[in-house]
Symmetry: C2
Subunit: 355 residues, 2 copies
């Protein structure tokens, strides 16, 4: 079992080091190979996703990814910016199914912006389509407007699109996931305005015929953004397109108050996957040894479960994380009175000990 | 001064009736003419925005709008659905600037999903571009995919686009509004992925040169969806495109916990405007006399201010609304222990009395 380890920028290297430590402690005979990605790769090789990194990722069973991005790369031409690495990996590996759980840990409920009764026990799963939509649709660019409000003016444009098989496969992923949970899928669209999402709604409705045991609800994206604030626990599985999923999954993760705890997985149809924390590269705290490695460690657990078929090892990691929380250990982002503040490496060590 | 009164569907007629009552009590010699819109117009005239309603709207100085929509119209062909009326009015009247305040009233702070300290005193203004973007971009439709992941498959598509003058004018609206407030504008984009929003960011940055006294911040839409939950009071004015604005303005309104209190205005370059509550048609409570008319009454105040140049009358309405809240009067949506529950008409009467 081969793992491509791509630490990236900012706090990426620190948090990935702790996840690697945990994986090594499990003694699973994993082959791990590290390569630069994002800004780090731009510095080392002139490109955020060098050929060699992409080839390593393609040849691996799974990718353990840290985070990419830093203000200092903001002035680079777009194809050279760190986030192109993540878009490139998604595209070249066909990682169409993004799993973003939003879970509120019992011990951290108080950290949420929301009132405790609204988020206590929250456990929703957002499934975001990750290789289609306006993220990759062609044509796109700048041109002179031929029509519209200001014909003759300079304009920029992008293309939103979804094909039937793209919608079908992500819908199936969502219904299958819901079967293992509370059997409810909310499909988020904007069918009242967009052709793409009327089609999305139609296709999801069709696929649903194969899953009569799962409840299907349709919701407009603006309403979903509201309901997530109003009553997040009413959701079980949310499935939506790439752009709406980007917005809603971030909104949902913030509801928990502890985004430093949330893992994510992005899978293709061969169960190859990229695993990364839901949070970003946090350049402001990079190198200080204070970042929370738990989201990355939990991403490694998802990797064992989804791509490496090691359910038991995944559970051991998850139980160990629960245990360090129960012990009262907290990195600064989740610290509160009465708990013990620890750094990145100490947290990783504590998880290893708890295994 | 001529006002087109378009009550619409669901609770629309009830809440608009109260706003009309309040306007009449001001004795401003307003000429008010009522016409059907949305589902009601479809029933009466076979179209959600009949020619006669559109002509009335065009000839008026302002439109007082209730709400449109009901589940029973969901199976109609898209051009006949109630929401086409609102899209049609925006388009035909060129109502490009949508003002959506998210205000947390002191007496209602406890009703928010968020902890009181995060929302007490909240006062943000979302300015959403309303006649461009993927809402109206052509081409759109269904076709056979020529490329992408599944060439040959059926697909649906839409076009996102913004021209330079469209971005410039909404940016100016935002900077001007910020000048009268806390002098901070957050422009929300997705420049890291979309050509349209890289252009948006570039143009807003350029326009900003004319407003050196206003602070400009750029934020990605996914981050904005998070920051609204995490620290909403950090915002003053948010300006963004039609689709991101749809999502974020609804998310922001829900933060206040009392969407039944929030007005909105949609203006064109001649200061003609459409004024409507931020909430929807709520068919489930229609006809029961329990809907909250205050958002519509406050929309009428915005109408007096923005389109009819009656600042003093606007303030009188706003003060009257504050007074009925201080008196402890509450419709069911904002009711809590220790306050007095009233119906739609009673609430309207109380505002008239407080004038
Ligand atoms: C970095 C960016 C391109 C990316 C996205 O928008 O998909 C990020 O926000 C994410 O959600 O993984
Ligand atoms: C009804 C719908 C077309 C509309 C929109 O998306 O603009 C509504 O959600 C709004 O925000 O006014």
């Amino acid at each position: 079992m081969k793992i491509a380890v791509l630490p990236g920028d900012g706090i990426g290297p620190e948090i990935v080091a702790e996840a690697v430590k945990v994986l090594e402690a499990l003694d699973l005979k994993l082959e791990m190979e590290t390569a630069p990605v994002g800004g780090a790769a731009y510095e080392a090789a002139g490109h955020p996703l060098p050929e060699s990194t992409l080839n390593l990722a393609k040849s691996a069973d799974a990718i353990l990814f840290g985070a990419v991005g830093d203000w200092k790369y903001d002035t680079l031409a777009r194809p050279l910016r760190p986030e192109q690495a993540i878009l490139g990996l998604r595209k070249h590996l066909g990682l169409f199914a993004n799993f973003r759980p939003a879970i509120c840990y019992e011990q951290l409920t108080h950290a949420s912006s929301l009132k405790p009764e609204l988020v206590a026990g929250l456990d929703i799963l957002i499934i975001r389509e990750l290789t289609g939509d306006i993220y990759f649709g062609q044509p796109r660019g700048r041109r002179t407007a031929a029509d519209g409000h200001f014909p003759g003016a300079e304009e920029a444009f992008d293309t939103m699109r979804y094909s039937k098989p793209e919608i079908e496969r992500i819908a199936r992923v969502a219904f299958e996931a819901a079967r293992k949970r509370n059997k409810k899928v909310t499909s988020v669209d904007k069918a009242n305005v967009l052709e793409t999402f009327q089609f999305w709604k139609d296709v999801v409705t069709e696929v649903h015929k194969d899953y009569p045991d799962v409840e299907l609800q349709h919701m407009y994206v603006d309403n979903a953004a509201m309901q997530l604030v109003k009553a997040p626990k009413a959701f079980d599985v949310i499935v939506t397109g790439n752009m709406f999923g980007d917005i809603l999954s971030d909104e949902a993760s913030m509801l928990t108050g502890s985004i430093g705890m949330l893992p994510s997985a992005s899978l293709n149809d061969k169960k190859q996957g990229l695993y990364e924390p839901s949070h970003g590269s946090a350049p402001d705290i990079a190198g200080k040894g204070v970042a929370n490695p738990l989201a990355t460690i939990l991403s490694a657990a998802m990797m064992l479960r989804f791509s490496l078929n090691q359910e038991e090892a995944a559970r051991r990691i998850e139980a160990a994380v629960q245990q360090v929380l129960a012990q009262g250990l907290r990195t600064p982002d989740i610290y509160s009175d009465g708990t013990t503040k620890v750094g990145t490496a100490q947290m990783g060590d504590a998880v290893v000990k708890a295994l």
